[in-house]
C-alpha cells in the first residue's frame, strides 16, 4: 500500500512538473524570445519603459505583418513571436538565474535585452555556456568583447560606450567651441569612470594641452548636486562633460540651470537625448546632447524609422527615445538573422547554430539605418553616432535639435582587435572621418 501511494505521488509530481514546463517554442509553432529590461528601479523610467514599449509596438506589428519591408513577413520566419518579459532589476546574480530560467524552463529560442553593463558581463559567459543566441541591445561596456574574445552566441546591436565619448570629443573640437579647460561630473561606478577616461583621453589627443579643472564623481542616485555644481562653476571650465543618465541627469540639469552653470560655457551630456522632452525648458539652449548612436531624435528619416515613430506615438502618446529604438534594432537584427538562417523554409525555427552563423557579419536594415555587424568577429554592430544642440521653443513648448553632426562608424570605432584605450592613445589610426 505504501509503495502504491509513493508511486502515485511520484507520477503526480512528474506530471505536475511536465505540465508546468512550457513546451519548446518550436513545438507550439511560435518563436519564443526572452526580453529583459528594467521594469523597476531607477533605470526603469528613462530606459526600461521606453525599451519595453518599443518591443511591444514592434512585436505586435510583426505578428500582424504590418512592419514595412524588408520585415513584412509575419512574426519571425512566419512564426508568431511569443515574448517572455523579465525585469532586469536586482543585480547580476539574479539576472544569471533568470537567464538560466529563460533557457532551461521557458526554452526560449533567443534572448534580447540588458541595459546594465554589469549584467551583460555576467550573462555573456552563461549565454555561451548554454548556447542561447543572445542580443545585447543597450549595455555599452567595452569589456564585453575584450573578455569574450571568441563570441559565438553573444551579439551586441548597440554601440560601445567608448564611441559616445570619442564622438563627444570630436563634436566639441569640430564645432569650434573653446575647449582649453574641461571639467567632468560622472556617476561613481564603472560607467562614469570609463566614460570620463575615454573622453579625457580622446579630447587630449584631438586638442593637445587641454586642462582638466575638476573631476566630480558623486554617488549614483545621489540627487543633490549643490556642492558639485559650485565646484564645477568655481573651476571655470570651458566645457562640462557628463555621462549622467536618468533622474541624476535631470536633477543635474535642473539644479545647474537654476544656478546658471551652463550660461557661459559648453556642456555635453552623452545620454541627454533620453530626456529631450522631459527637460521642458529647464536645460539651456545650446546644451549638447547625444543619443548613444543614431537613435531617438537622431534617427535618420527612412521608411522604418518613420513607421516606428508613428506606431510608437499612436500607442504611447509620447516621443520614443533612444532606448526604444535600440530595443527595436536588436529585435529586427534577430529577425533578419533567423530568416536568413531558415533559408526560405518558412514556418520553421532555424537551429541555433545556423541562427548565430547567419547573425555574424550580417548587414540589416533598422530604424537607425543600415547596421553592419562587422566588429568583434562579426558580433558587434558598427554604426555612426551623432551629437546636436538642445533648443527649446517656449511658444510651442517643444524641444528640438540643432547643429547636428553625425560621425561615421569608421571615424569613431576602433578596428577589430584593438581596444578603445589603445586606439585613442595611438591617435585614432585608420579613422575614416571624411571631409
Amino acid at each position: 500500500m505504501k509503495n502504491i501511494v509513493q508511486k502515485t505521488l511520484a507520477v503526480m509530481a512528474a506530471a505536475g512538473t511536465l505540465a508546468a514546463m512550457p513546451v519548446h517554442a518550436a513545438e507550439n509553432g511560435k518563436f519564443r524570445v526572452g526580453v529583459v529590461t528594467f521594469l523597476s528601479g531607477a533605470a526603469a523610467g528613462p530606459f526600461g519603459v521606453p525599451s519595453i514599449n518599443g518591443a511591444k509596438v514592434l512585436v505586435d506589428a510583426l505578428n500582424q505583418g504590418k512592419v514595412p519591408a524588408p520585415y513584412n513577413v509575419k512574426g519571425i520566419n512566419g512564426l508568431e513571436i511569443e515574448t517572455v518579459v523579465i525585469d532586469e532589476n536586482g543585480g547580476a546574480t539574479k539576472q544569471v538565474e533568470e537567464f538560466r530560467n529563460l533557457a532551461e524552463r521557458h526554452k526560449v529560442d533567443a534572448v534580447v535585452g540588458y541595459i546594465s553593463s554589469g549584467d551583460c558581463l555576467a550573462i555573456s559567459p552563461v549565454a555561451e555556456e548554454l548556447g542561447v543566441p543572445t542580443v545585447f541591445f543597450d549595455c555599452g561596456t567595452s569589456r564585453l568583447f575584450e573578455e569574450n574574445k571568441t563570441p559565438r552566441y553573444v551579439f551586441r546591436t548597440g554601440l560601445d560606450a567608448a564611441i559616445d565619448n570619442i564622438a563627444a570629443a570630436r563634436y566639441l573640437v569640430d564645432s569650434g567651441r573653446k575647449v582649453e579647460a574641461i571639467a567632468g561630473i560622472q556617476q561613481n561606478y564603472a560607467w562614469g569612470q570609463d566614460s570620463w577616461g575615454d573622453f579625457t583621453a580622446a579630447i587630449k589627443q584631438l586638442k593637445p594641452g587641454v586642462k582638466v579643472t575638476t573631476e566630480q564623481f558623486p554617488k549614483i542616485f545621489q540627487g543633490q548636486y549643490g556642492a558639485e555644481i559650485s565646484a564645477l562653476a568655481l573651476s571655470n571650465p570651458d566645457v562640462i562633460h557628463s555621462s549622467f543618465w536618468g533622474g541624476d541627469m535631470e536633477a543635474l540639469v535642473l539644479q545647474g540651470n537654476a544656478r546658471g552653470l551652463f550660461d557661459k560655457r559648453s556642456a555635453i551630456l552623452t545620454c541627454g537625448e533620453s530626456a529631450l522632452d522631459r527637460f521642458k525648458g529647464q536645460a539651456s539652449n545650446g546644451l549638447i546632447v547625444g543619443g548613444r548612436g543614431p537613435f531617438g531624435a537622431f534617427a535618420p528619416k527612412n521608411t522604418l524609422s518613420d513607421w516606428f515613430h508613428a506606431a510608437y506615438m499612436a500607442k504611447n502618446e509620447i516621443e520614443p527615445t533612444y532606448p526604444a529604438y535600440k530595443m527595436v534594432q536588436a529585435i529586427l537584427g534577430l529577425k533578419a538573422a533567423a530568416e536568413k538562417a531558415a533559408a526560405g523554409k518558412a514556418g520553421t525555427v532555424p537551429g541555433k547554430d545556423a541562427l548565430v552563423g547567419a547573425f555574424s557579419n550580417l548587414t540589416f536594415e533598422s530604424v537607425s539605418g543600415s547596421v553592419n555587424m562587422s566588429r568583434a568577429k562579426g558580433h558587434q554592430a558598427l554604426q555612426g553616432i551623432a551629437y546636436g544642440e538642445y533648443h527649446y521653443d517656449a511658444k510651442t513648448k517643444k524641444a528640438s535639435l540643432k547643429n547636428i553632426k553625425a560621425y561615421a562608424g569608421e571615424c569613431v570605432t576602433p578596428p577589430d582587435g584593438t581596444t578603445a584605450g589603445e586606439w585613442i592613445k595611438a591617435g585614432f589610426p585608420g579613422a575614416k572621418c571624411g571631409g
Partner: protein, 299 residues
C-alpha cells in the same frame, strides 16, 4: 575666498536637507525606540504625492504659481498623516512590546511593501516638477550663484529643528514625551497614556519624512528607489548625532554636510568615503553618538 564661501553655503544647504530627512527618523527612535527602516518610504511617498499634485496644478491650472508651495506642504501633511495613522493603527500598535531587533525587521518588510505600493500607485516613470524650484530664481553670494529655493530650505530646516526642540523642551506635551523617553514604565505608572504618545509621535515622524520628500521633489527627478537611497544617509546622520536626539541630528547633519562639502571642493576623490569616515570616527570615540545617552541596562 570664494571657495570658502562655497564650502560653507553648500555645506549648510546639504546639512539642512540631511536634517530634514533625518528628523522624523530620530523623533520616532527617541520616543518609541523603533529604528524605522521604512522612513525612506515616507520620504518617497511625500515626494511622489507632491510631485504628482504640483505637476497636475501646473499642467491643468493657470493659477498663482506661488500657491504650489502650499500644495507641496499640504501634500506632505496629508500623506504623512494618512500613512502614519494606517501603519501605526494597522500594524505597529500590535508590535510595541517586541524586541528592538524584530522591529527593525518589521519596518524593513514595511519598506519593501511600501516601495512596491509606491510603484503600483505612481508607476515607474520619473516625475519632473521643477516649477517651484525654478520660480524663486537665484542669488549671487561671493561671486557664486545659488538657487533661492535651496537657501530657503536652510531656513525651513532651521524652523523645523527649532520647532521640534521647543515642543520637546518648552511644552507640557514635550515634558510628557521626555518622561516616556527616560523611563517608559514609570511614565505609565504616573498615568501617561503611552499608546497615545506613541501614535502621535509616529504620525509626526512620518509627516516629517513626507515633508522632507515633498520639499526635495522640485529639485530632483522623483523616481523609484529614492527612498532607499536616503535612508542610508539618514541613518549616518542620526548615528553620528546619537539615536533619538534632535540636537544630535542637527549637529550630525552639520558635521556630515560640512565635511562632504569640504571633500567635494578640495578632494572630490574621497567624497564618497568622508560621510562614512566621519561616522566611523565618531563611533570609535563615542559609540552612542555625539548626543546619545549611555543607558543602564535593566535586569
Amino acid at each position: 575666498m570664494t571657495t570658502f564661501y562655497a564650502i560653507f553655503i553648500d555645506g549648510m544647504i546639504y546639512a539642512s536637507w540631511l536634517f530634514l530627512v533625518a528628523a522624523g527618523l530620530t523623533v520616532i527612535y527617541g520616543v518609541m525606540r523603533i529604528l524605522n527602516m521604512a522612513h525612506g518610504s515616507f520620504y518617497a511617498i511625500g515626494a511622489y504625492c507632491a510631485a504628482s499634485m504640483v505637476g497636475w496644478y501646473f499642467s491643468d491650472f493657470d493659477g498663482n504659481p506661488y500657491l504650489s508651495y502650499l500644495l507641496l506642504i499640504g501634500c506632505a501633511l496629508v500623506a504623512g498623516l494618512v500613512v502614519g495613522v494606517v501603519i501605526e493603527q494597522g500594524l505597529l500598535r500590535f508590535m510595541y512590546k517586541r524586541n528592538e531587533l524584530l522591529m527593525i525587521i518589521i519596518t524593513y518588510a514595511l519598506l519593501l511593501i511600501l516601495e512596491d505600493t509606491t510603484k503600483l500607485a505612481f508607476g515607474v516613470d520619473p516625475y519632473f516638477t521643477y516649477q517651484p524650484y525654478a520660480l524663486l530664481g537665484r542669488s549671487d553670494i561671493g561671486g557664486l550663484a545659488f538657487a533661492n529655493y535651496d537657501l530657503l530650505l536652510v531656513a525651513v530646516s532651521a524652523i523645523i529643528g527649532l520647532g521640534c526642540w521647543l515642543v520637546l523642551n518648552r511644552t507640557h506635551v514635550g515634558k510628557v514625551l521626555r518622561a516616556v523617553i527616560h523611563d517608559r514604565e514609570i511614565a505609565v505608572a504616573m498615568g501617561v497614556n503611552v499608546r497615545l504618545m506613541f501614535a502621535g509621535t509616529f504620525i509626526v515622524g512620518t509627516t516629517l519624512g513626507a515633508l522632507a520628500g515633498a520639499l526635495t521633489a522640485p529639485s530632483i527627478s522623483v523616481s523609484p528607489g529614492i527612498g532607499v537611497e536616503v535612508i542610508v544617509l539618514a541613518f549616518a546622520v542620526v548615528v553620528v548625532g546619537g539615536l533619538g536626539s534632535i540636537e544630535g541630528a542637527i549637529v550630525g547633519a552639520l558635521l556630515v554636510g560640512m565635511t562632504r562639502s569640504l571633500a567635494v571642493h578640495l578632494a572630490p576623490q574621497i567624497e564618497l568615503f568622508v560621510i562614512y569616515g566621519v561616522m566611523s570616527l565618531v563611533l570609535a570615540v563615542r559609540p552612542q553618538g555625539l548626543f546619545g545617552r549611555t543607558l543602564a541596562r535593566k535586569i
